[in-house]
Assembly symmetry: C3
Homo-oligomer: 351 residues x 3
């Protein structure tokens, strides 16, 4: 309950600050307040979802958890699309994937590994996610190669390829849900946290709706103040898209995964970090493609070599590290180093 | 025997139809009849080879089986080279590799996995093939990078590199035959089907020769009617090369692998799918390079980024899926999704 | 002792020959004599280091061994930087990595595997190195993509990225030393050779210093005679950088790894081959970046697609081959084939 008060208070102050800054016309402050405010709201969305999931039982609850876990990213990205910031959305997708794979998982393995000499986890689950991620990389690279092989192809053809790829990835996502929660539940041994719901379903639903609504408001502010804030604060848009937005949207998961690693519950920690990446690649990104077409600001699947390499190498490192079902602090440090190298290169790209 | 009658009848009708269409000058019908006719002929080549292989014992027979399994692809590709359709040949090589790795293996794992919750196979054999495939990818990418790094290099230098790479790959192929059938037969445990030869060696040899001859005839027709048929039917050459030719040449293997997967004989199914890809990469492709030089229509080893990415990612996914020696339906679905994404992108590339 | 006399005599003759050729102004002979002379000097550096390492105990000695093992490469590369041959240095780094991974390891597995049907080694150690190598590939590719994404970025930005990447890689190197020699010594089971030191510490130190000094002299000669020698002997600089320099600098390690493989001590053989590559990628290359800035001839981390592909695929093949902790002769042949394909492509690139 303390946590709820803390998060709620933090969020309310940030919303208030962003409204005042908006009224005062101080764009960079609107931006900062929005960014700061999304952190606790994302945490609240996560907690309310989990609470509902516990009540709904492992199957429906697991599905709910898996589908709503990245709601903050979906909301922010949707507003970025509405604001026409297509390149930033692509970077935010890339950044959410590598942030989960390298930063969240890396910090979990490093800190968990400093406490326990060796930690074990279900290599089968990690392997399933890895294959899905390779598939996502194929989905990123093929339309891009199509684009470079046929730069003069009619725009419609490119869009058709993007929609086809998005549909295929989403189908794989549905298959993997079916696999995890229906046909192979026992094999995978979906981790059960054994926790009790803290709130009534009605209150949890209200909390979820309120937090999502406030996230939408702050996302709108974030997008409208993006350009002036970037100019004033000397940030580059690639940095905002790749690093800032994903870190803000994942801060709560980040903290949760580390907490679980410190309690040696590696299966849940890996599910949060790697599972979340898979979900973004196979569900959130395709969803945004469809959404973008509906609102008439098409998001295609043509990614830069940078973005493809970042996702591809993150996947390769995680595949190598997770194949033996054991982890240690050095593997965590290696993941963090990969993140540092990628972030560093992006940081210096002129905006 | 029924099977022989069915396949033989089907083939004869197709040959007759293609001859009539040829005489009538209806190019697209020549094309369609050739494509349709190659399917049963490829099946007959496969059955006659297997029959001879059983009689010749595991070593010589295994060698025979491994070398003649892709005879239909060799014949079609040889005629494509003679017809100057070098780009289509490259796509057909690429398509045969990814068709076996993704479509044939994917369908086998999916259908086998829907029947059995989990299937097991020899991870060691799959691993050996995977390394060979990575080698093939290196063989594809290095001359291509040479080409882009030194676009003005004399043509001879490029050809020398292609021949050198082809020779190296073929040497590795010979090594892997030596390994499989001589030095490490027991370790690998080459699967024995335990079947009896159905035909006399003389009849099997006759059948092999007749089917190969008819395949050559239809391949000649297919190549000469390719351009008009593409124009009339609204197909693109990339689609014909990457998808159509390999599917036609592999239809029988495809059916065979699925049948074996449904009987839970995964080792043979994987040998057909993955082993066939290795053979195309390390034996058929190098053979075609040599053949092309002899007939004076040089096939170099400069592939497009598309082709390299398709083979590279197919290899990566198969490597990940096969590393634990276990399979399930989701892995099959993931392989098929990768095929769908690649095929989709190619389908929309303008001809 | 015989070995010392042989190596010492060989080195002295080569130094004398290079001095005479220098005096006579015969550049290609200076080059050849330098190249020939570095081989025994590199061997002496290795032996003196090992001798000191034995005396200093496993921790400090292990650190010494790991840090000085590539001293010859460092000296040659430093002189190449001083001589402004930046592209050759990059190729020498690439060549040392792939030479160890493919040529040294390949020859060891092939020859060891011809004697023993199957050899085993610690898959955990190999896995640790593989992840480090993937990290190095990320470190190679990210600044290069930065460079191609922002070709007009100020030179300072590019240098900052290079320095940042180099620092990160070196940090990972320090972490892996800490891991190997401190926190997880028992898990990894660092192989102990159990040999006795042959020389007094004073003599070993003198030998190390003398051999290093002579290597520096010959490296200076090699670099100053490089351009005329390349012209006279019809070599290309890529060939000298990628193949010749690394083979010369690694000849002793090469022989050592094969000798160990023939005695079935695969853990030490792999440590020499794969560990050496990791060390070059994570320690030598970053060190050279810092050195190059100090001497005012900046070595950036922008590599060609060729170099990145060579290192990337070498890493992928080693990762696949080493994952099961078992090796056979075919795996050795596959590694050598990959080396042949890469070397062949480079050989024909016009200089």
């Amino acid at each position: 309950m303390d946590n709820l008060a803390l998060m709620g208070g933090w969020a309310l102050i940030a919303v208030a600050a962003s409204l005042i800054a908006k009224a005062a016309g101080i764009d960079w402050l609107v931006f900062v307040a929005s960014v700061v405010g999304i952190v606790p709201l994302a945490a609240l969305i996560g907690e309310a979802t989990e609470d509902l999931a516990v009540k709904l039982g492992p199957r429906v609850g697991g599905f709910l958890n898996a589908t709503f876990a990245n709601l903050p990213e979906v909301i922010i990205s949707a507003f970025l699309i509405l604001g026409g910031e297509i390149e930033v959305v692509k970077l935010a997708i890339t950044g959410a994937i590598i942030g989960n794979l390298l930063l969240v998982l890396g910090a979990s393995l490093l800190l968990g590994g400093l406490k326990y000499s060796e930690q074990t986890f279900n290599a089968k689950v990690a392997g399933m996610h890895t294959v899905s991620l390779v598939l996502a990389v194929v989905g990123l690279i093929m339309p891009t190669l199509f684009h470079s092989a046929a730069p003069n192809a009619p725009l419609r053809a490119g869009e058709t390829v993007s929609v086809g790829v998005a549909s295929t990835l989403m189908l794989v996502y549905l298959c993997s849900l079916l696999f995890s929660f229906k046909t192979h539940r026992d094999v995978l041994g979906i981790p059960v946290t054994g926790m009790q719901p803290r709130w009534s379903p009605a209150f949890a639903t209200f909390l979820l709706a309120a937090a999502a609504g406030a996230t939408a408001l702050l996302s709108d502010f974030l997008v409208s103040s993006l350009q002036p804030a970037v100019d004033t604060l000397g940030l580059s848009k690639p940095f905002v898209g790749l690093i800032l937005v994903p870190v803000v949207g994942n801060a709560a998961e980040h903290a949760g995964a580390i907490r679980l690693a410190l309690r040696d519950q590696m299966d849940v920690a890996i599910e949060i970090a790697v599972g979340s990446s898979t979900q973004i690649a196979l569900f959130v990104a395709p969803f945004l493609v469809f959404f973008s077409l509906v609102v008439g600001k098409p998001l295609n699947f043509f990614f830069s070599g940078f973005e493809i390499a970042a996702v591809g190498f993150s996947t390769a490192i995680v595949a190598l590290i997770s194949r033996d079902g054991r982890s240690d602090w050095l593997e965590g440090a290696q993941l963090l180093a990969a993140y540092a190298i990628i972030a560093l290169s992006f940081f210096f790209i002129p905006g």
